[in-house]
Every structure is written in C-alpha cells, then in structure tokens.
C-alpha cells in the first residue's frame, strides 16, 4: 500500500515522457509503471507507448447496449402491436416486420449511444475530487506526472524529476 502521491509538472511531453520512461526502467526502485498517471491538456497519441496498454472497456458496454436495443426494441414494439388485435387488420400482419426493422434500427442506436455515454461516465474516473495535487496549469499547457509511492522513495523521485527539468513538484499523503 503506497503512502504518498507526488506530482511533477513538466513543460512539454518530451520531458514528461522521459521521466516516465526512467520510472519504467526502474530508475527509482520499487516504483512500477502501474503507479504512474499522466495528466495532459490534450490527448497524446503515443501515450500508450510510454505507459503501456491500459484497458478501456467501453466498446463492450456499447455492444451490450446495442444488443439490448435490438431485442428490447423488437419486443416493445411487438407488445404494443399485439394489443391491436381488437382492431381489424385488413389482411395485414399484426406485427409488421419491414416497418419494425426501421424502428428497431433506431432503438438499437438509441440504446447503444446511451449505454456508451453511461459507460464513459462510470468507467473513466470522473466524479472524483480533484484534490491538492490538481493543477490548473494542466488544462493550460503543462504536463503532470503523478506517481504513487512510499516515503523512502520520495527523494529519488524528486531527483529524477529534477533531472528532467520539472517545473513544480507537489506532494500529498494518501489517507
């Protein structure tokens, strides 16, 4: 269980990535790449190359939502149409498949989109307190590298950050 959290603010991606790269190559013993989080003002395309592959399960939720929309959409419409039995249909089917195809298509998209949205809300680490480490400069033009570590690793990490021209270091205890 890590006891501290340290954030280094860097002027550009190169320095931040270099610092992360050094962490990955065990320049600070006891800290691994899984302890590192990168905060940035833009989505950097090569961030996976330094942080490694990390999962994002949203497509699974989307698939689930789309499947639900397909099945529920058809059953919902068919249930509504089946209650029309008291009406004369004039030889037409009670449950018209061609028009239901169009409507189910819409409901598939409707549920897929909403499920994707909720999956994004609940799996991407939103709705959390920003805490003392949060710096507004990250939304401007600086890159933050946050590392979770133990007290005895603080000093080596500070030195490593300073080697890479860190602009500012912030620390907090994890409670």
């Amino acid at each position: 269980m890590k006891t501290h959290r340290v954030k280094g603010l860097f002027n550009n991606f190169e320095e931040a990535f270099a610092a992360v790269s050094d962490v990955r190559h065990s320049k600070v013993p006891g800290i691994g790449i899984d302890d590192v989080t990168l905060n940035s003002p833009i989505e950097h395309p090569e961030v996976e190359e330094v942080l490694g592959d990390r999962p994002a399960h949203i497509p699974k939720f989307t698939l689930g939502g789309a499947t639900f929309g397909l099945v529920f959409g058809f059953l919902f419409l068919a249930a509504a149409q089946a209650s029309f039995l008291v009406q004369p249909q004039g030889g037409k089917p009670v449950i018209p498949l061609p028009s239901n195809f169009v409507l189910v298509y819409e409901m598939l998209i409707f549920f897929a989109v909403w499920t994707t949205f909720f999956a994004f809300l609940f799996t991407s680490g939103l709705f959390q307190r920003r805490g003392n480490l949060y710096s507004e400069k990250v939304s401007l033009d600086q890159i933050g590298v946050i590392v979770e570590l133990n007290k005895d690793q603080l000093e080596p990490l500070r030195k490593l950050f300073q080697q890479h021209k860190v602009l500012e270091i912030r620390e907090e205890e994890i409670r």
């Binding site: 940035s40 298509y105 990250v138």
Partner: protein, 466 residues
Amino acid sequence: MVIEKDINEQIKWAQINSDVLRSMENPRKAYWITFFVCIAMVACAVVAEIYQYRTGLGPSNLNNPHMWGMYISTFVFWIGMSHSGTLLSAILHIIHADWRKPIYRFAEAMTTFSLMTAGFFPIIHLGRVWNFYWVVPYVSARGVWPNFRSPLSWDAFAISTYLSASMLFLFIGMIPDLAICRDNARGFRKKLYGALSLGWVGSDKQWRHFRKTYLLMACFLIPLAVSVHSIVSSDFAMSIMPGWHVTSFPPYFVAGALYSGCAAIITLFIMLRYFFRFEEYMTLAIMEKTCKLTFAIAMVWTYLNLIEFAATWYGHDVYSKEVLIAKATGPYAWIFWTMIFCGSVVPFALAFQKLRRHMPTMFVVSLLLNLSMYFERWMIVAPTLSMAMEPHQFYIMYASVVQWAIVFGSFGWFGLLFLVFVKVFPSVSMYEVKEMVFHRRRLINEEAAAKFHRRSGDPQPGAQPA
C-alpha cells in the same frame, strides 16, 4: 505552388485558451441587438401560434389538399440543417481530417439547435397540438393505436434518437473544454462549469476512455443521420402521390441535408470569425476546404435532381409528369427556377479561389444556397399537394401571415439558442485546436520528432522496430 497552412502551428496553447475564453466574456452591443431581434422574432411566432391554437388551422390557410404547407417544408429544412454537425464532426473525425477541429463545435451545436427547432413543426402543423403524443408507441390501453406502418411514427423515433445522440455527442466533446472553463471562471460560472465538467482532470485514463467514447458515438451518429433524413423522405416517398413516389428520394434528401448544413456552416463560420475575431483559428485555408466540400455536395445534389427529373420524364406515370411540368411552368415556377439557379449555378462561385477567399461574397453565396434549399423543400411539398390525382382538388396555396410568422420565429429561436450557446460554451474546441497545433508542429520539426521517439524507447523514424 505554396500550400497555405490550416493553422499557425507556432500559436501558444495559452493563447488558444485566452482567445476562446475571451469570446465568452462581456457581450458587445451588436450581440445584444441580435439577441433582442431574435427574441422579437420568437415573440411573433408565439403570438401567431396562440392565435392559431385558439382559432384552428383556418388562419394558416392549411386545408385539404394543402395540409402541410410551410410547416412541413420548414421542418424538413431544419432537419436538413442538422446534418452539418454530423458531417463535420463525425465523418471528418473518422477520416482524420483534422482541419475540422477549429470549426466542428459550432457545427455540432447547430445540429442540436436545428433539431430542437425542427421538432416544433410537426406538432404545430397538427393544429390539435395537445394530441402530439399519439405517435408515441406505448401499449394502447387508451385506444390511441399509433400506426407503426406510417413513416410519421418512424419520424418520432428517428428524430428523438437523433436529438438525444447529437446532444450527447456535443456534450461529451465539450467536457475537456468545460474543465478549462472551470479552471478559469469565478463565481456562479465556476460552479456551473464545475458541475458540467464532471470532475475532468485530463488523466490518461480519462483521455483513453474519452477517445473511445467519442469514436463510438461518431460511428453511431453517421448511420443515424442518414436514417433520419431517409425516414423524413419516406414521409413523402412511401405515399403514392405524384412527384413523391420516387426511389431516389432518400439519397436526394440526405444530399440536400448535407448541402444546407454545409452552407449554414459557411454562414456561421464567417459571422464567428468576424464577431469573435477568430482569424487565427477559422483561417482562410479552412474556409477554402469547407467551400470545396460544399461545392462537391452541391454537384451531388444537382445530379440527384436531374436523376429525379429524368426518372419522372421517362416513366409512364402521367400524373407525376404533369406535376413535374407544373413545377417548371406553373404558379410556383419562379420558386423552382430560383431553386435551380441558387442551388446548381451559384455554387460555381465556390470553384474559384478568389471568390472563396472573399468573405462578403461567400457570406452572400452561403445565404443563397440556403435559400435554394428552403425553396427545394417548398417545391417538394407544395406542387404535389396542389396538383394531386383529382383535378377538382387542384388548388394553389400561398402561406398566410400566421404561417410566415411561425416560420420566421423559428429562425429567431435557432438564433437565440445559438447566441446563448456561444456566450456560455466555447464555440471553438480548445483542446482539439491544441492537438492540431501540436501535431502540425511535430510534423514540421523532424529533429524534435526524432528526439521524442528516442526518449520514448521507440525506434528512430524509418527504422525497423526491434
């Protein structure tokens, strides 16, 4: 030949923030004048609607056979306008056309507001507005029996899905920018943006999920947009009315929708560039690309028009042929020929570089293109209803003051929503422009790119990976 840059890649990220945030501060006098003009337009529509509500559809001149009139033409027009956001945001996002980045936000907002405007018209044209929920497919315990075979029911599904999806797409795309606003605002605005940004901190996890979500939404939005306008075209094409029962109607409607959406983007592009002094972001190079795209779509629309005419002309349906001839020579002929001129001839102005770079000309051209698109919708609705199968029903209808007032008010409503949007939310995507600048800067600085690759443990550019 020197290729002009889409954006100045030397622009500082901090400047992008300050320029966009500045556009959200202290409205100027022109803003307030436009704002109150829009409110006055909406007030006209409200008064007209109250009058129509109290007296019935008579004062609007809607009667058999003209039961749709300008209300449904305007509905189709606004639905068409909503395709701008999908085109610029979703399609260009998927094909990695990064020049869209400075201008897609307001196009997405246009999509949402157009749909919010379009949604009024099917309800208004009912006359008995309180019965609008009859299209909702709940189990018919109350004996409403919605007709699921009717494209009007499909409309309700398609438009509500499109509206909710486009609102989500707009909102998700704005979250990183709302966090920037939160970090720079004070007082009530800070609380508002704090709530709307949902605790965004820009962590790698958030960006990773954000990227997937945005891509997935874009993938769903494209077929959805196509289906929405195809379904709107089915309102006409599924009938057996002459002039409507045409198989090319769905692509014709989709092309018309993209066309009017692009034209509206040009109009708003020029207005935002001028009023918010966004010359650094809404550059002439981006304007040129938007114009070329519009020109291409204009030619597709022209081709589909010709296809429709040819199919009717060489077909054996005398009624359809009669309607086609009446379109070109009858009482609505001036609208038809204005539509053809503005929709198929005026766009050739977009083919000339000198004209594309002249903002006042482009502003006028974009308005003419949308005038053509409005006339197109009128020419779809009115001539067929005027000259359907029964000669004793032939009747030429012109819109009454009530119809005009409500249609006029819809433009005010759209303008009002847009004006509020540009002052409350960033109309240029700050993080996407930063990304654009970042990538462009890297592309021109190979040395920096090489240095970056070495540091991240990547092979050198051009080298084989280990």
